[in-house]
Structure formats: structure tokens, C-alpha cells
């Protein structure tokens, strides 16, 4: 006979350096870094002060430029 799983029995897990842990046991924090050439977003999960998961997303706002210089004859 199949047992119906109730919503309250479902424990959301998240992958960490210690394997899958209940997300409710972790402390979440996020931080933004806004610079002239990039915007960064970091999200961190800690367990008793230890970082167990940390992701970083960086948006490069500008690439690299090179110039094709012109030289005048006789200049």
C-alpha cells in the first residue's frame, strides 16, 4: 500500500560540502559588490559559522579595448 507523502514531511535539502543538508538548518546571507567594471553577487550558506556553500555571479560591464594606431608618413 502506497503511503501518501504530506507536504509537512518534505524536507528541502541543498547540496553543500557536507553533502545534502536541510536548508532550514543553514544560515543564508548575500552580498553585492558594485564596481565600475563589474557587478558581483555572492550568496553564502553557513552551518555553525562554517561556510558550506558559496556561489558567486559576476557581471562584467565592460570588455578590453585595443587600438589600431595610425602613423603619418614622414611624421
Amino acid at each position: 500500500m502506497e503511503k501518501k507523502i504530506l507536504d509537512k514531511e518534505i524536507v528541502p535539502l541543498i547540496y553543500t560540502i557536507h553533502g545534502n543538508l536541510p536548508i532550514a538548518d543553514l544560515e543564508y546571507s548575500c552580498a553585492w559588490h558594485i564596481g565600475e567594471e563589474e557587478v558581483g553577487f555572492m550568496e553564502t550558506y553557513t552551518l555553525n559559522g562554517e561556510i558550506v556553500k558559496q556561489s558567486v555571479h559576476i557581471n562584467k560591464l565592460k570588455g578590453a579595448e585595443m587600438g589600431a594606431e595610425q602613423v603619418q608618413f614622414g611624421g
Binding site: H33, G40, Q54, S55, K60, L61, E65
Partner: protein
């Protein structure tokens, strides 16, 4: 009408497409575009304008990171607007569920088709570590002022 001295815009775009060789070049096997990759480097590495090719020296290492980095999605053809030729990858660079415990702050784009895995450009960002998570580098707008690679 008058003549003006200029580096031709078409030439700039041709350079991006590998049409000119003033020095010794290579035999190209096909007319198709090359494949490019992006690799991450430790903050302690020395990747700069003098870097000639991809190397594992100073490259990050860690869980789920493959040496050599990730393939670059290239659906954007080089274009020229306002005398600037530019090109930008058409997707973010993404490393998923990686652990990179030692600080890194640089990404090297290099030619994976070329026998010498010749370097293209290095890009720096604020120093980072990643723990059992994702690292993504989102590309700038592909235009003449912010494109990832621009020739003015």
C-alpha cells in the same frame, strides 16, 4: 571628395576573422570559426598582456573544475560600429557545483582550435572563492563601447 588616412574598418573586422597575415601564419583546415575556451586563474598567478598561450600554471583547481576551463558559446559574428570592431561571447561562462578554495581573480580566453592554444585576452575581477556552488561570469553588452573584445 578628399582622401583620408585610416585603418580600414573592414580590415579590423577581417583581423577578427583571420583574413590577413603580415607574418608567418598557419594553415587553416577550414573556413569555419575557431573554438575558444575560458580558464580561471588564481590571484597569485601572472596572467597579463604578455601571456601567449593557455597554460595550467596558475590555473585554479578544485572539485568539478576541469583544467582548460569551459567552452565559449560563440553565436556573435564580429561587427563594426562607429569605427570599432567588437565581439562578445553569446553566453555567460558558467562553472557549476565547483569548489575553488584558493582565491582567483582572472579569466583567460584562448583559442582552443589553434595548435598553440594561443591566448586572446585576460579579464580580471574582484578576488573570489567558491564552495560547492556556482561561479558565473556574465558578458557585457555586445556593442562598440562595452563588447568583451574591441579594436578601435
Amino acid at each position: 571628395m578628399a582622401n583620408t588616412q585610416a585603418v580600414c574598418n573592414s580590415f579590423k573586422t577581417d583581423l577578427f576573422n583571420g583574413l590577413h597575415a603580415f607574418g608567418a601564419s598557419v594553415i587553416r583546415a577550414a573556413t569555419t570559426k575557431d573554438s575558444f575556451k575560458a580558464a580561471l586563474y588564481l590571484a597569485s598567478a601572472t596572467i597579463n598582456k604578455a601571456t601567449t598561450a593557455y597554460s595550467v600554471t596558475g590555473e585554479v583547481s578544485g572539485t568539478n573544475y576541469t583544467a582548460g576551463g569551459v567552452a565559449i558559446t560563440n553565436a556573435n559574428a564580429p561587427a563594426n560600429t562607429a569605427d570599432v570592431t567588437y565581439w562578445t561571447p553569446s553566453a555567460s561562462f558558467a562553472w557549476t557545483t565547483v569548489t575553488l578554495a584558493t582565491a582567483f581573480d582572472c579569466c583567460l580566453i584562448y583559442n582552443f582550435t589553434a595548435a598553440g592554444v594561443n591566448s586572446v585576452a585576460s579579464y580580471t575581477f574582484s578576488s573570489q572563492t567558491v564552495t560547492a556552488g556556482n561561479f558565473t561570469l556574465t558578458m557585457p553588452t555586445n556593442d562598440q563601447t562595452t563588447g568583451l573584445l574591441r579594436l578601435t
